[in-house]
Each structure stands twice: as structure tokens, then as C-alpha cells.
Symmetry: C2
Subunit: 223 residues, 2 copies
DNA sequence: GTTAAATTTTAGCACAGCCTAAATTGCATA
DNA sequence: TATGCAATTTAGGCTGTGCTAAAATTTAAC
């Protein structure tokens, strides 16, 4: 079974279905349309094609899900994306909020050779700068066990940040300015209607719920 | 005057017109079609669009040439391409014959930021691994004075290689195996019907005319 | 359980970039 | 100067991916 050559558009559809599937097993056309910045009829049309290629399954009026083959391609694109993000940050001095857009364009055009080269250069990393897991060469997702959302912490909990689930540039800027970035140790010191209060690097901030819910933490043990 | 957003295809047309213009001031549709791997009617169609955008000038049945704006865009793409080639070779361990294809795809998607980052990392280089000049940030081509084609050398001439004008992978492989690469000192020891004889790094080879004519040299003085 | 709202699909169209076949133009050579 | 060949353009079509408007279906609310 040889892998089909896909358009950038098609790769984007598969990647987006994968990401939405992590949250909700059945992906709606509407959600896809929103994420991909296209109108619902365009999604229906493209899904039909991907269906004919056996990359997705589609129950009309129900939703879509990836086939095994489709998921493999999605993971490959995701691997490209996240490796690129880390590479841009580490080797080309990109800031946290700049890496996503650039990776979004590069992910479709780099070769296997390029992928392998940057992966090796970075010692086959398992997570990108947002803490998102990078699928391995054989497309396994490294498991990130026991993540706790920051909003679910209890007073006095000492954790460190593991993942920040947004690509919004202004939120990322805010967080990086506060040093609320993956790897950083924090202490949870309470919450109220306005948000949660976190101690980080000798400072304490109030983080509004809207932002706090994007932050995931893990136990202090390892790094 | 803001710069128009162009498709990858359109960028390729402009780049190719530029490269052909270096050889022959008026570029024919046929040459363009050959270089771009499309049919002549496709070229006519695209040229019309580029004409309407004031990026090229076209005298029907005569030929095309770039406008000032068109040339700027071509130079920008060329800068991307050649910076990328050098970057891939230097930082990602690409071999000579692999860089062109990868750069061909990447050149259209990298941002100004990416361009600036790799240029700075390499200390604003002026030539790519083939010896082709890299347009500067303000799109000036560094002049490469007094280049002599290897086939025009005289017996005993000691030069070094400055430029290799091909992207053919097998020719590049052959040359790199023989260490006939830019920067390398050579001595010309004669020619005959079969080709020219060059001494390089303690070896002497016969180089067929077809290949020798791609090699350009300059005086021994500086590097 | 009926009906209104939301979601999804169908139908039909637009635009980019390529194609082939045929018509046109320009040039070289007899 | 005429004529035939090569280069170019025009005409018309195809494919991919998007769009809007309207029809069909599902879901939710009363």
C-alpha cells in the first residue's frame, strides 16, 4: 500500500480532523469549517474526496473520523509541524508566538530528509515549545501521563507547567512574558471568581480563568 | 507601492524569466515553457496576467522581459533559493545534489523573518554552494568579476573554481566526487577532442567538454 | 409530538493554472 | 517575393478548491 500524494489542503483537513478527534471522537463539519477557515459546503466536498481515498470515514449528517491510513498521514504532518516549531525556536531564534505560522506553511513542503535532519539535530525531541507531543518517526505519540489543568489544582500544589494549549499569539506573548512556559515550576496559591493565583519565579500573578484553563501541569518530580 | 501577493507559480515564472534574461535579453515563450515544464499556451496565459500586474512586459510574438517591480520579486525569490541552498548544505548536512530540489519548494513559503534568520546565521553570505551569487537584502547582486570558463583556459593556468552552472544531480555528484567544487584550486594541463585535462588535489582528470563548459574559474589571488 | 432552529448536503458557479487543437504571425530560405 | 516551417496565440476544456443559495435532515424546545 503506497501512500497517496495529497494537496496541502488535504493534509490540513486530515491534521485538523486529528486534532479535533482528540477532543471529540466524532468531528462535525461545522467545527472543521471553523478551524480550516472555509465554509461548510467546502468541507462536505473535500470530505467526499478524502472518503473516496479511504482516508476518512463519513456517516452523512453524523460526522467524520480518520481511517488508520488517514491518521498516519495526519500524524506525519503533525510531526513536521511540531518538529519545525521546536527547530525555529531553538535554532533560528524565533519567539514563542512566531513559530506556529511559519511551521504551518513549512510543514507541507519539507522532505523526509529535512524532517530527519532537524530531528537528529535536536536529538529526537518528544515535545514542542508549547509542550505538545511530537509523534515519533514511526508515528507513535509519546504519552504525557497525569497532566492536570491548572484550574483544577489545590491550594499549595507545587507543579510545573507541561503544556500550553493555544496558538493565540497575544496569549502566548502574555504567558511568555510572565514566564508561564513549559518546564517552569509553579505554586498554586488559590482561586476566586476573577481567576487563579499562581506563584512563578518569585512573582505571583492572577491568571483569568479563560487563560488558566489553557495551562496544564504535571508533578514536580522529573523535568 | 505595495508588493502584490503572488502564487508560487507566478514566482516561478518571474524567477525563470530573470535567469533566462541573464543569458538572452529577450526571453522566448518556448524557453520559458521548457524551463517551467509547461506547454507554450500556458505560458502565454500566465504572461498576460503578469503583464496586467506590471511585472513583465510583453510584445506579442516577440518576447518578454521583467519590469523593475518584476525583477525585484525575482531577485527576492532567488535570494531565498540560494540562501536556502547554502543553509541546507551548511547546517543540515545536505549534499550538493540534494539542496536544489528542497530549496525549490521552500523558497516560496519562508517568511522575511526566516530569510533574515538564516542569512544572519551564515554572516550574510554572497554565494551559494554552486558559486551562484546571492542577492543582498536590498537585492543587489554581488559582482563576480573576471570569471573564465574552464574550456577557455591556457595550458599551465592555475585558477580556482568559482562557479558550477548546473543543477543536474548526477553531474553535481560526479563533480563533487572529483572535488571540482567552488573554492578548489586547479591547474589546466591541456585539451583535446575528448575534453580538457585538469589537475585538482593531486589528481588529474579528463573532463568532457559537455561538463567542462559548466565550470567557471577565477584567478588564484583571493579566496 | 410538533415545530423551529441548527446543521449538513446538494446544486450551481468562479477562479487559477494547466492542457490540446487549431489559427495566426514571423522568419528564413529558395 | 513567395512559401513553408517554427513560434506564438486563441479557443475551448479539465481539475482542484473554494463560494453562495437553497434543499434536506437532525436536534432541540415547547
Amino acid at each position: 500500500m503506497k501512500k497517496p500524494v495529497l494537496s496541502e489542503s488535504q493534509e490540513d483537513y486530515l491534521k485538523e480532523i486529528f486534532k479535533l478527534q482528540e477532543i471529540n471522537d466524532h468531528v462535525s463539519m461545522q467545527d472543521l469549517a471553523r478551524e480550516l477557515n472555509v465554509r461548510p459546503p467546502s468541507v462536505t466536498g473535500m470530505i467526499k474526496k478524502l472518503c473516496a481515498m479511504d482516508l476518512v470515514e463519513h456517516e452523512p449528517y453524523k460526522g467524520v473520523s480518520l481511517t488508520v491510513t488517514g491518521e498516519k498521514i495526519a500524524l506525519e504532518v503533525l510531526r513536521h509541524h511540531r518538529l519545525l516549531e521546536l527547530y525555529l525556536a531553538r535554532h533560528l531564534n524565533y519567539s514563542w508566538d512566531e513559530i506556529h505560522e511559519e511551521a504551518e506553511r513549512l510543514e507541507h513542503v519539507i522532505s523526509e530528509k529535512f524532517e530527519a535532519a532537524i530531528s537528529e539535530l535536536m536529538d529526537d525531541p518528544t515535545h514542542d515549545p508549547h509542550g505538545d507531543p511530537i509523534p515519533s518517526v514511526d508515528l507513535e505519540i509519546p504519552d504525557t501521563p497525569n497532566l492536570t489543568p491548572a484550574i483544577a489544582l489545590k491550594k499549595g500544589d507545587a507543579m510545573h507547567i507541561s503544556r500550553v494549549m493555544t496558538q493565540d499569539k497575544d496569549i502566548l506573548n502574555l504567558l511568555s512574558r510572565l514566564e508561564l512556559i513549559p518546564g517552569q515550576p509553579i505554586v498554586y496559591s488559590g482561586s476566586d471568581a476573577a481567576g487563579i493565583r499562581l506563584k512563578v519565579a518569585d512573582n505571583q500573578y492572577l491568571i483569568p480563568h479563560a487563560i488558566a484553563k489553557l495551562i496544564w501541569c504535571k508533578e514536580q518530580e522529573a523535568n
